[in-house]
Subunit: 481 residues, 3 copies
């Protein structure tokens, strides 16, 4: 007997509890930060110097990526467009409001309050991106209730990991390669491992696209592509660091894109292009430049990273995703291990190389700003000297390049461990019967959780063979005649 998947009581009950908790926490703990507090404005403050004007443009760009980019990209299934786009909307919205609180406790908490500004929202959107990437691993097989539970727990594990890595290990990771992409990937794989559905290992009749869903999904890819430079540069230092981050991301994406096209044609039996490659593999360059995105790696290195990341990602889709599903019981629905895991590992290694190669000759004194943990510690006379050249330089830990490289490695290992463990744990919770998990046959089907309009092609039709998955040019009307 199938267990019920009605959202009638489950979803409202869960949302109600969450809202009561959030309202209580907001009421007790959240106040405005200095840039949003009317009381702190006076004749010393210039309105146009408000942090808003530095952060909001990047916040808005990331918003487009989260809601339109991910939303359209995840709507690529033929019978799962509503769910892909709308569950993304729900999950993202909840993840951000929850991350404002949880990250707030770890990063914006002082004087007994979480201090709220657009910068907090921007950080919360990155936390949200983590959840959405993990969502890709279980797309089509989860109820909205399960997704909210996933967001609830993933944000918690993420915020703790982020805090621990930034506070104790202290790394360079401007584009979020380690903390966003690797974390999201292994968390998602952990969840997917627990939610393994052996009967779906040979595919599902509804696991197909349609002409329009493919176009919609490419639009999502394009929006992600366009605003990725903003994503990778939103949290760097302002000025030349952010400038380089934008250049590298754009260059990496460019080389990645043309590489993806050529690999797609090369590996296709009939020498044609495959839309799934264009929807996913083109973006690999954006992740691959991440860990070194603000460093002086030179434009050609960004270009080469794009080509390498794209190739790894493409081969991952071709060979590794099937292997994971068949042998490791990890069904990675959207191939996040290729787009975020493999590229993330390459990016992390590139970041370590860039750290090892960094010299004052290349960076000038701002080396100690970018690699802030290499700055001399408080009290060191070299610090005073450097502060004359770079006003506002903060004391560091006096690490050598090699030290920093080892800390990066430690961060990679511990992030992967924490995320995989967190993912497995979260998967176990998500498996609880009353969370409305869809049965195997109801996967990838909007009808399960949506009232669908009358032109929604029915599953009955599919079963009766009206929709053929094999030959590209068989039309349903044709096959009926």
């Amino acid at each position: 007997m199938k267990s019920s998947t009605s959202l009638k009581m489950r979803l409202p009950a869960l949302v109600l509890v969450l809202e009561i908790v959030i309202i209580a926490l907001y009421a007790v703990f959240v106040t405005y930060d200095d840039d949003a507090n009317a009381k702190l404005q006076n004749n010393q403050t210039n309105p146009m110097d408000n942090a808003l004007y530095r952060d909001y443009p990047y916040f808005a760009d990331v918003q487009v990526m989260i809601f339109i980019g991910f939303g359209c990209l995840l709507a690529f299934f033929r019978f799962y467009g509503f769910s892909g786009m709308v569950f993304n909307f729900l999950t993202a919205t909840f993840a951000i409001q929850w991350a404002i609180l949880i990250q707030g406790f770890f990063q914006f908490y002082y004087d007994g309050k979480i201090h709220l500004g657009v910068i907090n929202l921007l950080n919360a959107e990155f936390a949200c991106a983590v959840v959405l990437i993990s969502f890709g691993a279980v797309l089509g097989k989860t109820s909205p209730v399960q997704l909210l539970i996933m967001a609830l727990l993933e944000i918690l594990v993420f915020a703790v990991t982020e805090w621990a890595v930034l506070k104790y290990i202290r790394i360079n990771d401007a584009g979020g390669t380690i903390l966003i992409h690797l974390f999201a990937c292994y968390f998602g794989l952990g969840v997917s491992f627990v939610l393994y559905r052996p009967r779906l290992n040979n595919g599902h009749p509804k696991e197909i696209t349609s002409y329009h869903s493919d176009i919609l999904s490419v639009m999502g890819t394009l929006f992600l592509w366009i605003f990725w430079p903003s994503f990778n540069s939103a949290l760097t230092f302002k000025g030349d660091d952010q400038h380089r981050a934008i250049l590298h991301t754009f260059i990496g994406l460019s080389s990645s894109t043309i590489t993806a096209f050529s690999l797609s044609a090369l590996f296709n039996k009939r020498g044609k292009l495959t839309m799934a490659d264009i929807q996913n593999v083109t973006l690999a360059g954006g992740v691959t430049v991440g860990a070194s995105v603000d460093m002086m790696i030179s434009p050609v290195a960004a270009y080469a990273l794009g080509v390498m990341g794209c190739t790894a990602c493409f081969l991952g889709y071709k060979y590794m995703t099937p292997f994971l599903a068949q042998r490791m019981r990890i069904q990675d629905q959207c191939g996040i291990h290729n787009l975020h895991g493999l590229t993330g590992l390459i990016s992390s290694i590139a970041g370590i190389c860039a750290i090892l190669l960094a010299t004052e000759e290349t960076y000038g004194p701002s080396m100690y700003q970018i690699f802030s943990h290499r700055a001399p510690p408080e009290g060191d006379p070299k610090l005073l000297e450097l502060q004359k050249l770079i006003p506002g330089l903060k004391p560091g830990l006096g690490r050598t390049a090699r030290d920093q490289a080892l800390y990066q490695l430690a961060a990679i290992v511990s992030t992967i461990a924490a995320s995989a463990a967190g993912g497995v744990f979260t998967g176990l919770i998500m498996k609880l019967q009353f969370l409305a998990s869809p049965s195997d046959e109801d996967c990838f089907d909007d009808q399960l959780f949506f009232d669908v309009p009358s032109d929604f092609a029915s599953i009955e039709e599919l079963k009766s063979g009206a929709i053929s998955n094999e030959k590209g040019n068989v039309d349903k009307a044709d096959s009926k005649v």
Copy 2:
């Protein structure tokens, strides 16, 4: 006999007249404002301080909302996608160019000229938003000629009302709750009241969506959602005020969205989600925080307003829209009374509460900037003292909080009265026979005003029962067999 709905002469004739009038007015009255005038630039002016850089980013965001957000959202009907998106384009374009002139006379006119800058365009876009909201009330039942006439008259009534309220009543309404949402709502209902079509009270066979139109419409919602913080904050003071406006709008939308999902599932017979709720009700929070969006209401209040506004909006769709149609002969096609009226009223009350609760302890001296009418009048010694703390503070009217609250109330009442009356009058004009109003059976059908491609599902097919509106999973091909 049906009256002709050919646009062949009507539309060109109307546009020609309008263009001649606009060109004449532009020629005689419009010049550049100081920031766009080459002659006024010299060694005292810094190009990067040009007002352009403060206003253009918000202008661009609102542009996306107007043309893509509204355009896609209004394309939700299955056979009315061309019309929804394209009439929105036409109406918006005309409304803005017309508002530049009309609002210009009331707000940017001095030395015998309307002075044009991006700030004028930004204001015109808000006037345009008013027209597009009202458009929602009569979607599917109006010709483009009627829509142009509506824009022509609504901009006039709006500009006069706005000028009178801002100049004589003087209110706080940063997010435009009163002047934009309430005005647009009651104007639209007024028009709809006059254009009442009794035969459509029990629905129309073409009043349905399709799988793709629903997805398109959600995309519109998402674009509106993403850029709503820019909309609500575009005309606040710069600095902390705008910062708060963005925070509150984002928080209000977030809580509103998850509430909308839970109510959608709760009230659905089978515990499923309804796309119409997700397309509309999720946005309620953006309107509800409007009237107090720049005030120090605290983040938790924005969160609670989102939940309240969303609940009122949802219940409005459920119970009030049918009631208005059946008993009050007001057919509110897109439910603007729920999304803009009910939420607008809640927002207005919240604004009044926020005004009554505002103290110098919370706001510091900038209280007299935000609540500018409470600032001491010219000559008051307290004004000089305050101006030392807040340079550039303008003299006010010395109102108390209670005074201001009463003026807000007066503005609400008079805006509703003016807009409803204006709407009824405009409706009467729009009813004139030669404006190509569609017959009842031709409503919600792109074929009336567009050359449609050959795959456009025909009304004949609909009538023959090939498209069933009742059961979600009946496919037209199926029902043919």
Copy 3:
């Protein structure tokens, strides 16, 4: 026998060669510009003064135009949506990375290196826009390999022409009317002339739209419309010049749009609107204001230019495109000669008029900044005087208005000549057999270069008459019964 159109070896081989060349050139020649170079930052540089913050917002807007705007607009064919959107993605991505190098050599090369900053990327996007406009002339009839070759050569010819015109002729062309629109148009027509396909002169059965492709295409138009002010103003002087550019572009587009609607209805047999007009002709105003976009032409002139450009463009589609195809063997698929050529010519003439009419009385001393070649030459005492009023004014050539007008004329003629010749030459290369050019019957069909999903309507179905192009309301299912 058809020649093979498999991309299996062709595309990867070409991309591999291009990538090796690009990597080599990047490695040897490309470094960071001053604003992206960490070494050059010190206590004298303010991070927030980085050129990034002036250029990036416009870069991002143009990105949306290039990838989403063009991408959706070009996806208007029913069976060619994948190709329209995806080939645009490929071509644009390659064109930009190539233009960074080629334009870099001509405009950003000093000390033996191309200096890379966001400004370089922004320029490269304009070069890319040139390629995409030309692409419109041959849409549906070219393989991705041919398109890459076209981009490769067109960027070369464009960069040389741009450099020669800017360095030797020296013109005013803020909106890129001459160098972008006229160049792109006549280059595209040149290519199209060589690739003439006589058998397609009477149309092709697949040269039709669908309901969804028309909507998608309008979305593209709307994105282009929204961000066109950024496009036209991205490379002007900052301050009042950019402010005017934005105002004029918006006004020109507005008047152009309502004119397009009225002409569409006026010239339609049944007085209905035609989607193709709305997709294309509405945009004419944006091109038409281009050449004088930053000048003090007065708002009414921008309005009138929008009306004129739109009218010319509309009549061009109606009468000139068929004439070119029938008599001149120029098959201009998307009518770029109407939207970019005719409007470009009108715009150029308007620009010349604006130059002839410019006086110090209207512009003040900043006349010599806008019309920089009219500034007094080095050593002229008037220059010193002017530099007191406009700090940073660069010495000019002391041209009179009439001089400058003649130079503009020279630029127009030589740009058209260079682009047409370049286009013909490029067309000859593109005709080479091994570039996978589609056969006449395979034109406008995604199946040639893509794996398509099972619901892709087949060409067989088309031939069997299941899809009728003539009557708007014949459904394929209907005609089968």
